[in-house]
C-alpha cells in the first residue's frame, strides 16, 4: 500500500490510500452525469447506442468483478464463465420455457449465484493465484459444457435470443432507446448498490478478508459465509450482465465468452482502479471504446484493408503495459492522488506531488 506523507513544519502525518478512500463522498457531480447519459440518445445514432449498451453491460460485469476482486480480494479469471451461464440460462428460460423476460433475467442471475458455489466453496482452501488458475479452468469447462450440451444450447452454431423484451406493458427493443434507458437505470442501481455495499457491514467484512484472511477470521468473520456471499453477489450480477449481453447481441455462441473476456474484465479493473466501483466504470468505458478507437485510427493512418487483428493486439497490449507500469493503481487511484494534492494545496510537500514513476525507475 502506498502512503503519502504530509508535513506540517516538523510534524509529519501519513495518509494511506485506504484513508483517502474512506473520505466522505461528494455526490454533486452525479446529477450532471445522469443528465448527460440520459440525454445521449438524442444525439447518437443506432450504432453508437448499441455501443453504449455494450458499455453498460461491461460496467455491470466490471462492477461485479470489482466486488469479488477489489472488495473481497478473490482473484477470478472465471468471469466469462458466469456471463456465459447467465446468457444461456436466460436464453433457455425465456426462449425454451417461455418465461416472462424479467423473471428470466432474475432467474439467470439465480442460476449464476447457485453455480458460483462450485468456485465459492473451494475458494476457502485456494488462495490468490491458485484461485485464479482454478477459475480459469472454470471458464474452459463452461465453454466446453456449452458445446457438449448442444441440444439445449445449440452449441457453436449460436443460440438466437429475442432482441425484444416485454416488461409487463412495455415492449423494449435492444436496438432502440427504451432499452438504453432501462439498461442505464440498472447500471446506476448497480453502482449505487456497490457503493452502499462497500460501506456496509458486508463490505467491511469483505475488505477485511482482502487485507488479511487470518486477521479477519480472528476478529470473528465467518470466512465461509462471507466468501460464498461475495461469490454469490458477484456471480448474480455477472449472470445478469450476461443475460443483458445476450439480449443486446441477439445471437450468443461460446466464442463470445472465452478467456479473453475474463481477461478484459480484469484489465478494466486494473486500468480503472480496483476496490472503489468508480474505477470499474472508468475501465469498462475505456476498454469497450478501445476497439472503436483503433478502427478509427486504422482508417485515418493506414491503407484500407490492412490487418486489424495485429494492430488491435499491439495497441491493446501496449496500453495495458504502459498503464500498469506508470500507474498500477489505475486511473481512479491517480485521481485520488491528484485530489488529495489539490485539497491540501498550500500545505503540500514535494513528496505528495512527486510523480511516482520517476522514483520507480531508478
Amino acid at each position: 500500500m502506498r502512503t503519502l506523507t504530509i508535513s506540517f513544519g516538523r510534524q509529519k502525518i501519513r495518509f494511506s490510500d485506504r484513508m483517502i478512500k474512506e473520505e466522505e463522498e461528494q455526490g454533486w457531480w452525479i446529477v450532471p452525469l445522469v443528465l448527460l447519459i440520459f440525454s445521449l440518445p438524442f444525439v447518437l445514432d443506432d450504432y453508437r447506442i448499441y455501443l453504449m449498451n455494450r458499455i453498460g453491460v461491461a460496467i455491470i460485469g466490471a462492477i461485479s468483478l470489482d466486488i469479488l476482486c477489489g472488495f473481497c480480494g478473490q482473484l477470478s479469471l472465471g468471469h466469462a464463465g458466469f456471463l456465459a451461464i447467465g446468457a444461456y440460462s436466460y436464453g433457455i428460460l425465456h426462449m425454451t420455457f417461455h418465461l416472462p423476460a424479467p423473471l428470466s433475467i432474475v432467474g439467470a442471475g439465480c442460476v449464476g449465484a447457485l453455480l458460483s458455489l462450485v468456485i465459492g466453496i473451494p475458494s476457502l482452501r485456494l488462495k490468490g493465484l491458485y484461485l485464479a488458475i482454478a477459475t480459469m479452468g472454470f471458464t474452459f469447462i463452461v465453454d466446453d459444457a456449452i458445446r457438449f450440451f448442444s441440444v439445449w444450447t445449440h452449441g457453436v452454431e449460436g443460440f438466437r435470443v429475442s432482441r425484444v423484451v416485454h416488461f409487463g406493458f412495455m415492449e423494449l427493443h435492444s436496438g432502440k432507446t427504451g432499452f438504453y434507458y432501462f439498461l442505464y437505470t440498472l447500471v446506476f442501481a448497480m453502482v449505487v448498490f456497490s457503493r452502499f455495499l462497500l460501506h456496509s457491514k458486508l463490505g467491511r467484512a469483505f475488505t477485511s478478508i482482502r487485507d488479511s484472511e487470518t486477521a479477519a477470521e480472528v476478529s470473528g468473520i465467518n470466512l465461509l459465509l462471507y466468501k460464498v456471499l461475495a461469490f454469490g453477489i458477484s456471480s448474480f450480477m455477472a449472470a445478469v450482465a450476461g443475460a443483458l449481453m445476450g439480449i443486446i447481441i441477439g445471437t450468443i455462441s461460446p466464442e463470445d465468452f472465452n478467456i479473453l473476456l475474463s481477461i478484459d474484465f480484469l484489465v478494466m479493473l486494473v486500468i480503472g482502479g480496483m476496490g472503489a466501483a468508480y474505477g470499474a466504470v472508468i475501465g469498462a468505458f475505456f476498454i469497450t471504446f478501445l476497439p472503436e478507437g483503433i478502427t478509427t485510427l486504422r482508417d485515418a493512418f493506414l491503407p484500407p484493408g490492412s490487418d486489424i487483428a495485429i494492430l488491435q493486439y499491439l495497441i491493446y497490449g501496449l496500453i495495458i503495459l504502459s498503464f500498469i507500469v506508470f500507474e498500477p493503481h489505475g486511473i481512479y487511484g491517480r485521481w485520488l492522488v491528484i485530489k488529495t494534492y489539490m485539497k491540501r494545496f498550500p500545505l503540500n510537500e514535494k513528496r505528495i506531488g512527486r510523480i511516482a514513476w520517476i522514483r520507480r525507475w531508478r
Binding site: C69, L75, P122, R125, L126, G128, L129, Y130, A132, I133, A134, M136, G137, F140, I141, D144, R147, F148, S212, T214, A215, I259, I263, L266, V267, L269, V270, M274, D307, A309, I310, L311, Y313, L314, Y316, G317, L318, I319, I320, L321, I324, V325, P328, W357, R360, W361
Partner: protein, 288 residues
C-alpha cells in the same frame, strides 16, 4: 499397440508441458508471480529458430542456439522493462502486465511473419525403432532433450553459486537480501533462464503443431501441470507435466473429443479440491 503409441505420445507431450511448467515455476519461485507470457515467449523463440533456418540459411543446431540466446536476451529485457518497476505492487497488476506482454509479442510476430501458419520441421520424418516400438524422431528428441535439461538444471541448482543463490531467494527473500545476494540481478537472470527454457520448449513443440502467433495458448494448457506440482517445486512441475500429457492423450483415445480438451482442467479441479496445495507441497510455518 494403440495404447503404447498413446503412451509414447503422452510422454512426449508431457515433456513439453513439463518444460513450460518448469518456466512458470522458475519465475514463480523467485518473484512470486505467474508469467502468463511464457507461452508467447515460447512462440516467438520458435519463430526466431524458423527465421534462422529460412531467412539466414543456418543449419538447425545454429538456429537452435540463436533462438535460445534470443530467449535469454528477451527474458532479461522484459524483466528490466516491465516487471522491475512493479516490484512491490500487488500481484494482480503484474499478472495483467504479463498478459499485456503476451499480446504485444503476438502482435510483433504477426507484424513480422503475418498470421499465416508456418511449418518448422527440422527432425526427420521416418520413425526410429526402439525395442520394437516405432517412435517418431520428434518425440524421441523431445524426451531426450527434456531429460538432459532436467539433469543440467538439477546440477545447476545443486552445485553452482548462482543456483544456490536462486534457491536462497525462493526460500527467504529478505534473508537473502541481507546476506548480500544481488536479488534484482537474480530476478533478471531467472526471467532470462525461464525464457530460454521456453525457447527450447517452443522449438520442440513447433513440429507437433504448426507455427502460429496463437500457438502460445499451449502455455495456458501447461498451467495445470505447474499447479498439480504445487507451483514452486521443480520435480513437481515435471511430474505434473507428465501426468497431464499422459492423461490427455489416453483420455483422447477413449473419451469423446469435447471432454479431451478440458480433461487437464477437470484433473486440476479434482486435485485442488482434495489437496489444494498440489501434490508436491512442503509445509512451512507462516507468520500473519
Amino acid at each position: 499397440m494403440v495404447i503404447i503409441d498413446g503412451i509414447v505420445n503422452g510422454i512426449a507431450l508431457g515433456c513439453i508441458y513439463a518444460l513450460v511448467a518448469f518456466g512458470f515455476v522458475l519465475v514463480y519461485k523467485a518473484t512470486k508471480i505467474i508469467n502468463f507470457a511464457q507461452g508467447e515467449i515460447m512462440m516467438i523463440c520458435a519463430y526466431v529458430c524458423y527465421a534462422g533456418i529460412k531467412t539466414f540459411h543456418l543449419n538447425f543446431v545454429a538456429s537452435f542456439v540463436l533462438a535460445v540466446v534470443f530467449g535469454l536476451v528477451l527474458g532479461s529485457l522484459l524483466e528490466r522493462l516491465f516487471i522491475r518497476p512493479l516490484i512491490g505492487y500487488p500481484v494482480l497488476p503484474i499478472v495483467i502486465a504479463t498478459i499485456g506482454i503476451s499480446m504485444v509479442l503476438q502482435a510483433v510476430v504477426g507484424l513480422i511473419w503475418t498470421f499465416e501458419p508456418q511449418r518448422l520441421d527440422p527432425f526427420s520424418v521416418s520413425p526410429y525403432r526402439v525395442l520394437g516400438i516405432a517412435i517418431s524422431p520428434v518425440h524421441l528428441w523431445t524426451i531426450m532433450i527434456t531429460v538432459v535439461l532436467i539433469a543440467v538444471f538439477f546440477l545447476f541448482f545443486r552445485y553452482t553459486l548462482v543456483g544456490i543463490n536462486l534457491r536462497a531467494i525462493a526460500e527467504d527473500l529478505l534473508g537473502s537480501m541481507a546476506s548480500g545476494i544481488a536479488v534484482r540481478r537474480m530476478f533478471n537472470f531467472t526471467w532470462a533462464l525461464a525464457a530460454a527454457l521456453g525457447a527450447v520448449a517452443g522449438i520442440l513443440l513447433a513440429p507437433l503443431v504448426l507455427l502460429h502467433p496463437h500457438m502460445g495458448s499451449i502455455g495456458l494448457r501447461a498451467l495445470p501441470a505447474a499447479v498439480l506440482g504445487s507451483f514452486g517445486s521443480i520435480p513437481g512441475a515435471i511430474v505434473g507435466g507428465l501426468i497431464l500429457g499422459l492423461s490427455e492423450t489416453i483420455a483422447g483415445l477413449y473419451l469423446p473429443k469435447e471432454i479431451k480438451d478440458v480433461f487437464p482442467w477437470l484433473i486440476l479441479f479434482l486435485v485442488l479440491l482434495i489437496r489444494p496445495e498440489g501434490i508436491f507441497y512442503t509445509y512451512e510455518q507462516k507468520k500473519v
